[in-house]
Symmetry: C2
Subunit: 148 residues, 2 copies
């Protein structure tokens, strides 16, 4: 029985492990400099972002992490920063249900748009998002400056 | 004499005109459904985002609009949503100074990274960001869902 709930203090260790799993899949594990402790502060104290988890028999097997963002063209948006289901638990429709949960949250917050990014070579993810009737646009380049 | 200052109530009309100018340049003017009135609420009442303006003899000739975002890999970031200088006022180094102002704000807020997006065919902008020693990464596709 899959259940979904808001992330709560104590979940940060497992969520952070899943973040690292996803970074490994995205071929960038060395780019993760965040920590579970910092994540707990950002999620539960400073509330910069928000997360929900999918649980199976009490065990967290997936999560979605998001925050309110802003489009000058549209207004208030929801940015889905990470969205992940453990590999061993896929093909059970959990991802689609988790995605629906995030969409419901976006709608309840009355945002104009939900945004995320997906790697251009991540065909299973692209296929999943196409099924969700998402617009996929590869015309934009990410600009970044890193600070120490 | 170029000056920079935080945007303040009353600036929303000019900032919104510049947003529309930029959207036109980005070949998507029809995608702007936001309004100056809503922008004023989002900037000055709900404070979802923040903006600075560049003025020349009291006239607003450029702006930068940004908000705090979050990276699961890095932590707290600053997302630069819009960054624009009026075409007639370019080649005077105003853009570089405005960009420096945003970088200074990002550093003062102790974020780990500053992010933005640029269209892959916008060569003048890409060249500008290369000069700022930015990392430019075209490997990610934007996923989007729009809500009515």
């Amino acid at each position: 029985m899959i259940k979904f709930r808001a992330a709560k203090p104590g979940d940060e260790q497992v969520i952070f492990e899943l973040i690292c799993e996803l970074a490994l899949y995205e071929k960038a594990p060395e780019q993760v400099t965040n920590t579970a402790e910092q994540l707990a502060i950002d999620l539960f104290e400073d509330k910069i972002c928000d997360a929900i988890v999918a649980t199976l028999e009490g065990e967290i097997i997936g999560f979605a992490l998001f925050y309110v963002s802003y489009s000058t063209w549209k207004g208030r948006c929801l940015y889905l920063e990470d969205f992940y289901v453990k590999e061993a638990k896929r093909q059970l429709g959990i991802g689609a249900k988790l995605f629906d949960e995030v969409v419901a949250i976006a709608k309840s917050r009355q945002v104009k748009r939900m945004d995320w990014q997906v790697l251009e070579w991540n065909e299973p993810a692209l296929q999943f998002y196409r099924k969700q009737k998402a617009i996929l646009d590869g015309e934009w380049v990410n600009g970044r400056l890193f600070f120490d």
